[in-house]
Symmetry: C2
Subunit: 417 residues, 2 copies
């Protein structure tokens, strides 16, 4: 039985903490590249899902998973070449000092482990994040994610760094540096020793603010001056999402001590990782051992390698950069007349702030735009502190040929909401 | 390059927090049912790995995974029948009041989520665990796992419940009830409000003590009287490991509010779950939403269903019960003369305490036994607070035909160490 109304009723079994997208929830039954198909055979252009980074149902990834799962799936307490081959291939995309990889299964596990490492290095527990940050669902991360709930007493928040109208990057960077320094000073005044500056390098849940080059460097310096380590959360921004630089930290010229990654790493297979300096990993290891039953198993390693090969051989990060340039041009041409208050993005991660207009509604106009587009066959979402930012981040196989479909649906939705 | 020495050198990239099994680490390259094969073509009887519960490389599981991954892998923000079919099939193995399922990717995520639920229900954060418990690697769980490190100030420990020589279960249960009550009273005296009694229902890292029927009930009552909820951690004991009862809590007659599960749930595919009462899940949902990017995706649901079908249709829990009875008889016959200080277990989870004897060594005799057996083609491990307990828990496809191989290797190892 795959009627949406029937499935909705049966979802009671999952409890009320789960939420569905769209006023009319979607029931996809098949995926292929950038397309999802529902139970009625209708196709939707997927301009939202960042997990299937090399495309829904990617054949190379599925084949690698199936072949390794049929051969062997054990764990890191036995030797196996796959995890080491994968580590070498992944670390080739990092600066030389970020040369250690530890593996987990979810971005939450990666961020939680990164904070445990930061605690080991710093001896502190004070964490600075941005005002509407989201970093995961473990208890520690829920307490460190102001977009979920009130943060813990050992957490302070700062605004996401932004370059104001007519302002230089240097001035904005200095302002953010002051804000970060003040946040750590505030922790110290409360007798909380600094531990980490933890930033999503595309500031996704803050409303999507890909930082200009150099914008984060002062804040990182302020964190280090306070004795904290710098963690780049690349769960959203990593693996070419922002274009040819591969990582948000690389694009903005940040030199983190720890980098976390997740969602696209296995194209849907649960895998995540922490890349760090040897000093950080050694300090953590001195506090105890680490074992993750599934993290880094031979299947995860084979899947991760297939994803890397797809990204590299098809030059998908470079293609995201190019497609992103086309999107920027099209947005600039088509959207300003349609009640749009801001357009931010790079590569294939875009946030479009939608101005409210007309009669008051119970939902934001951005929500109505996303629902209108879903009804017309294109999937996006909306987020941000006020829920007024359209969130557009398709699989990286989304190319210039898909741009007109997305743009047409977006323009129609903005016109009619 | 798959030479063990070469791989050992390359493992620097993972850092020193990872540990390998055995003095001569194993390099398995293939797995089939209860057998692992190394790079030299040598076969090992796997009497240790509990994750591949329905056998290494299980064809039904691999096929389900590959077919669903090729078709669709999305997440719980869209409707999909697979997660609901799986939830119904899994919950059919639970008492009627445990009728909600939330999904995650690892046992750590499941236990962390369970504690967040317990916090929501109880309004407290005081946790009672056993002396040498292990519950996971998130920061919260590392602080709640005395086998890893010192516990947090909001944690108290009690001994694992044990029935002494010549003692009735009722007397032992009352003693444990008093210990649990005292632990919560101690938390309350420190102004920490009780949250949860969290127990691994086979007490694996405490040394493997499968509890007799009724042994935990008093402790659970004491926890509830203090305002705490009762969490059964079935990551080790669940899915038929202890025999026909399917769950450790069911076998001992415990009525938990929350049950967590992981390792065998996906036969190696990263999946884990929390089963709880509607009241618990509702209280948690009132504190905020929950989303796990990979947890409960259609591939996980298909894999989990294939594992359930294998367990059910091949009656593997019942078979574990029978094989366990044979093992018990063989142990009782062969081991007492060989310097064994205790044999505990049920189904296919056994702990054998090995007495030290002869000259002092830098390793425990249990460690030397496990290494001897590895050299002779049978894989087990050792654990417990003193590292002197052999840990035997093969895939549930381990049958009576494998018992002589295991027993011969064990007897030889005990004779020669």
């Amino acid at each position: 039985m795959t009627e949406p109304t029937e499935l909705l009723a049966r979802r009671t079994v999952l409890g009320p903490a789960y939420r569905l997208f769209y006023d009319e929830p979607l029931l996809p039954v098949r995926g292929e590249d950038v397309w999802l198909e529902d139970a009625d055979g209708r196709r939707y252009l997927d301009a939202y899902n960042n997990v299937p980074v090399v495309g829904h149902g990617n054949a190379r990834v599925v084949q690698a998973m199936a072949a390794q799962a049929a051969t062997l799936c054990t764990h890191t307490r036995y030797l196996h070449p796959a995890i080491l081959d994968y580590a070498d291939a992944l670390l080739a995309h990092f600066p030389p000092d970020l040369n250690r990889l530890m593996l987990a299964c979810t971005g939450s596990e990666a961020n939680d482990l990164a904070l445990r490492m930061a605690q080991a290095v710093s001896g502190g527990q004070g964490i600075v994040v941005t005002h509407h940050a989201y970093h995961g669902v473990t208890q520690l991360l829920a307490q460190t994610s102001p977009s979920l709930a009130a943060v813990a007493p050992f957490v302070r928040t700062v605004p996401p760094p932004m370059v104001g109208e007519g302002e230089t990057v240097a001035i904005a960077a200095r302002r953010w540096e002051d804000q970060v320094a003040q946040a750590f000073a505030d922790l110290q005044a409360a007798a909380v020793r600094p531990c980490a500056l933890l930033v999503d390098t595309v500031f996704a849940s803050d409303g999507i603010f890909p930082p200009a080059h150099g914008l984060l460097s002062g804040g990182a310096a302020a964190a280090r001056a306070a004795g904290a380590v710098v963690i780049a959360d690349e769960v959203q921004a990593g693996f070419g999402r922002l274009g040819a630089d591969w990582w948000g930290f690389a694009r903005t010229g940040l030199a983190p001590d720890i980098v976390t990654m997740g969602k696209p790493m296995g194209n849907g297979y649960p895998m995540a990782g922490v890349v760090a300096t040897a000093a950080v990993v050694d300090a953590f290891a001195a506090t105890g051992r680490y074992f993750n039953t599934f993290g880094g198993n031979p299947v995860a390693a084979a899947v991760g390698m297939a994803v890397l090969q797809e990204l590299e051989q098809r030059r998908l990060p470079e293609r995201a950069e190019t497609t992103g340039q086309l999107l920027a041009a099209e947005w600039a041409h088509a959207l300003p007349a349609l009640g749009v208050a801001g357009i931010r993005g790079h590569g294939l991660y875009w946030g479009i702030t939608v101005a409210e207009h007309g009669a008051a509604h119970s939902s934001t106009r951005a929500s109505r735009v996303a629902n209108h587009m879903r009804q017309h066959g294109v999937l996006i979402s909306h987020s941000g502190p006020q829920g007024n930012v359209l969130k557009i981040r398709p699989p990286l196989t989304f190319g210039t040929e898909h741009v007109p479909i997305l743009l047409d649906a977006l323009v129609q939705a903005l016109r009619q909401t």
